[in-house]
Symmetry: C2
Subunit: 299 residues, 2 copies
């Protein structure tokens, strides 16, 4: 009987293994970002890797006492970056899953990421039944910290709900289909396809809300059934957000409608996040210029 | 911002904390079975506690090198047992949750547990909408190994699906309601209520099925979408059970219909269990004798 450890986010692990064994003719490199955490069946060993790609971690002098993920982030910077440099990879696609009911979440840095926005739009058009939602995580003045921020263009696929330590075939198949379509899109781009301007609807963070807690820091309640599994849906002022163990409801006391995401994500309890508040906004994405036009036979 | 660890099965942890703070007038003792694992956000530290209540672990000579859970099992035996002795607790109720879609599972040792069978029947009658299913785990000739086997009567509530590390309000409320009803039933029994005989339908294990694996022991596929989330439902010979990463389906090649349970349970990957095969059977539960009849005014 085999009994190998199963990682907390096994989906990307098995996809990476699959592609390593059967590489496409497209130039891609599957990377298992955090092999030590994978072996230990944890999100991370010392420090959340996907919060480690900032200049203070990447550019500090290495020491033997560095947390594992800081050392690993520098390795990945060498492989995929350096961040914001000409040698960096053109694109990094992060594969994630969440216990929240995020459906097919597409996570990019900001609305200024024109390539990523066209890629999101392409996925939305290809798979209308998936209702792909776009979450733009970077807050004003904040440095990007994600793995995919190391490349010139980054996007993360955030599929859910899937428990940690479980590999669901439906989520796995969806991820595989989306990744194939991302590679197709890059191929279209490389072939000189023109991508016209369009209007994009997306969500950006405006704050986080922690669970209600006792004075000792223990949970005093949990996400209300009327909020659970309603990621990206509008939350109106006065609606219940937590059900206390004492039986009472806690209501949302904000002044305007927000759209919660990462509702009851297992990995965020320790971060003090029951859900992330976002606001919906729309913006125009400009046409994407053809970088390498095919040579004209007439010229 | 608080950032206390969240245990892998937080539901029972928070229920235990709740009852410790607000004890009922019924004589109950909430026990957090594995506090070290709770603190470490894991199912166990050294050895699966809920497989440790066997005579070889409980009765061996303690040594300083004993796994944490072996020492803890002996402590719990002192508190709740000794197992199969007159001093043991009358009843232990285990509170569990699973990533499998088990709904409201009631897990007892065998059909011979008359008190537990009447208790299960009572829960089924009280909550027909929950479709409580009864799983009798003990296989012929096998010693019981669960925490609740230490008491004279044991039952475990197995609610799902709930991801590890997440506390869902709907599951929490259901568990709280069920526990209150179990206490009510014990009170009815203590008051001398007569419980007539009835026919019971239940499931018993006939085998386990591991995930398909590569020669190196890695997963080669996962639970098929047509089997996922179908706990307790009939699986016919020839139906798909696994979807391989290569794309093909693996079919169930047994000769008779089985009823899988614990389908894609996160904690069982390491045990080499993708699901447990059970067979459905029916049996008669005899009337439960009144142990402490109220004194008759006429006698």
């Amino acid at each position: 009987m085999s009994s190998l450890p199963v990682p907390r986010e096994p989906l990307r692990v098995y996809l990476a293994r699959h592609w390593l064994q059967a590489p496409a003719d497209f130039s891609t490199v599957p990377v298992l970002a955090n092999p030590a955490a994978t072996a230990a069946c944890r999100r991370y060993v010392d420090h959340d890797l996907n919060r480690t790609f900032t200049s203070s971690f990447l550019n500090s002098r290495p020491t033997p006492d560095d947390p594992y993920e800081v050392t690993r982030a520098r390795e990945l910077k060498q492989l995929l970056g350096p961040k914001a440099s000409g040698q960096a990879f053109d694109s990094v696609l992060g594969l994630h899953n969440t216990t929240a009911d995020m459906g097919t979440g597409l996570i990019a840095k900001s609305s200024h990421e024109v390539f990523a926005m066209h890629l999101c739009h392409h996925l939305q058009l290809q798979y209308p039944e998936l209702s792909c939602q776009v979450f733009l995580y970077q807050q004003s003045g904040e440095e990007s910290y994600n793995l995919d921020s190391v490349a010139k263009n980054g996007l993360a696929l955030e599929l859910g709900p899937q428990p940690q330590g479980v590999l669901r075939a439906d989520i796995f198949s969806r991820m595989r289909t989306l990744v194939a379509t991302v590679l197709d899109f890059i191929e279209l781009f490389n072939q000189g396809t023109a991508f016209p301007a369009f209007e994009m609807e997306a969500y950006r963070p405006v704050g986080v809300v922690d669970f209600p807690r006792t004075d000792a820091g223990n949970l005093a309640g949990t996400v209300h059934p009327q909020l659970q599994d309603r990621d990206f849906q509008p939350l109106q002022p006065g609606a219940p957000i937590f059900q206390m163990f004492s039986g009472e409801d806690l209501l949302y006391e904000g002044e305007s409608t927000v759209h919660p995401v990462f509702i009851n994500e297992a990995a965020y309890y320790e971060k003090g996040i029951a859900f992330v508040q976002t606001e919906k906004f729309t913006f125009t994405v400009p046409a994407m210029a053809v970088l390498n036009p095919a040579p004209s036979p007439a010229s």
